[in-house]
């Protein structure tokens, strides 16, 4: 379980997160939504310890985050943009991350097979297309069977086939009891994947609850319109 309590983050004179409090239950699948620059990525990065909050606390499975690092072995993270040292090969990068996470012994290589990445293994990363790099990125996030998956716009840049492979994987991991947090601008993914929705607007939570509650809270009939109406209300 992740407990976020009154989280504040300032970048210079700009307040990106304005007192965020939320609880993310173990085994839930949470969709983090909001317009550009609403603080989604900053919130995710705070959980990963990449961004240091100005105020407030995050507690992950009873452990308070304060610059410690070992808790990250529970997390698989797929960043928005994938970039790797350009002269390494796909195989080397995957082995490298495996090396860094020496505690894991069994690897989940299902995505590597389904994306047929094996045939790209000897290629250098600078010679790969953006979509293929994104696939490598996804494979790394799922490789270690982490309890918590954090996916920042996972399907952006993927073709429809790969995108549905990834979505199936997300759903099956959810069935296995993984906690999943993801962001996306495709509302269709919300319909397909999410149970819980956290709606961020200008650094504040505008809505936090189940998908059905979100639809009922407005007089709209589907999610897309419900979210659009919250965005317009502001």
């Amino acid at each position: 379980m992740i407990t976020i309590d009154n989280l504040n983050k300032w970048f210079g004179a700009f307040e990106v997160l304005k007192g965020i409090s939320a609880e993310i239950q173990k085994g839930s699948i949470t969709y983090l939504v909001g317009p550009n620059a609403s603080g989604k990525t900053t919130l995710i990065k705070s959980i990963l310890g990449l961004v240091k909050p100005t105020r407030g606390t995050i507690i992950l499975d009873g452990e308070k985050l304060n610059g410690n690092f070992s808790y990250r072995k529970k997390i698989g993270y797929m960043p928005q943009t994938a970039s790797f040292p350009e002269n390494l090969t796909v195989e080397e990068i995957i082995n490298m991350i495996k090396d860094f996470r020496e505690t894991s012994t069994t690897y989940d290589e299902e995505l590597i097979d389904k994306f047929s990445l094996h045939k790209e293994f000897k290629k250098r990363l600078k010679n790969l297309s953006g979509g293929t790099r994104q696939k490598v990125n996804a494979c790394i996030a799922f490789l270690f069977n982490p309890e918590i998956m954090i996916l920042d716009e996972p399907t952006a840049g993927l073709d429809p086939v790969s995108s549905s492979i990834l979505k199936d994987k997300i759903l099956s991991e959810h069935k296995n009891g993984k906690t999943i947090i993801f962001t996306s601008h495709f509302l269709s993914e919300l319909e397909e994947l999410a149970e819980q929705v956290i709606f961020l607007l200008e650094g504040q939570i505008r809505f936090n609850g189940t998908k059905d509650k979100l639809i009922n809270s407005t007089d709209k009939h589907n999610l897309e319109r419900a979210i659009a109406s919250i965005m317009i209300e502001g």
Binding site: K52, I75, R101, R124
Partner: protein, 263 residues
């Protein structure tokens, strides 16, 4: 400790395939080969090599270091989302860059000297001093470059600052010293000059090697004062301490900044 070695290993894999590192090695190879072919006096060859190295090594180290950190920002984020301590990553990246750069310099210089070794006898003491000077510049300027790149989010500004830092230590500092000597020529400035030289890592390395080349006599009275200072134990200890300081201080400040930074 284990993790740091792994980071270094993968980074060496990456950097050793970079074409810039190949150019860098080739550069030293050609310079050394050329100089050795033209001269039979190895002291002169090493003195010329020293002058070239003291311009090129700081420049390449500081720019390569800055650009490397900026180019790999997303990758650093990916590594930091693994269970790895930030300070370990910083030191790993630092050593992973210093080792190939140093290796490149030593190989590029040593190979032509060995190839042409039958022509003139190799003076090992001098060579060791040349390598020590070159390696000290590599570790110092990569350390400074990491500090600059960690401190500045803006890569144009960071790169500008790096080039400016190099310009200050390689050119402007000496110009300023000459100006001071000229303006205050009627005063005894020798001791003050020792003080000034110590605060420039490039000058410090140059002076130490020049004194070992026994050409200090050509530097007149100032040379004699320098010889007297740098040949005492105290002088050597102070200069080594300064070179270490130029490495460790930027490294520690950079590491601290890196640990507190938002990615």
């Amino acid at each position: 400790m284990n993790i740091i070695l792994k980071i270094i290993r993968y980074q060496i894999h990456d950097i050793s395939r970079s074409k810039w590192l190949v150019f860098y090695t080739l550069f030293f190879f050609l310079i050394t080969y050329g100089l050795t072919s033209f001269s039979n006096d190895q002291s002169k060859v090493i003195l010329s090599l020293l002058n070239v190295s003291l311009i090129i090594i700081p420049l390449v180290s500081i720019i390569f270091g800055t650009v490397y950190l900026y180019n790999n920002k997303d990758f650093i984020v990916l590594i930091l989302s693994q269970p790895i301590k930030r300070s370990v990553l910083y030191l790993g990246l630092y050593l992973g860059l210093v080792i190939p750069l140093s290796f490149s310099f030593v190989i590029g210089t040593l190979v032509p000297l060995i190839i042409l070794g039958n022509k003139i006898p190799v003076q090992f003491t001098l060579l060791i001093f040349l390598f020590a000077a070159g390696l000290s510049q590599t570790i110092i300027f990569v350390s400074i470059s990491f500090l600059i790149a960690t401190w500045n989010e803006n890569r144009i500004l960071g790169l500008g600052l790096s080039i400016f830092t190099w310009l200050v230590f390689s050119v402007l500092y000496d110009g300023l010293l000459l100006l001071i000597i000229n303006v205050f020529q009627s005063y005894p400035l020798e001791k003050a000059l020792i003080g000034f030289s110590i605060f420039n890592p490039v000058d410090l390395a140059r002076i130490i090697v020049i004194l070992k080349l026994d050409v200090a006599a050509l530097m007149g009275y100032t040379g004699a004062v320098f010889q007297k200072f740098f040949n005492t134990n105290l002088g050597i200890i102070i200069s080594i301490m300064c070179l270490i300081g130029w490495t460790v201080v930027p490294l520690i400040i950079g590491k601290r900044k890196f640990s507190k930074k938002d990615f």
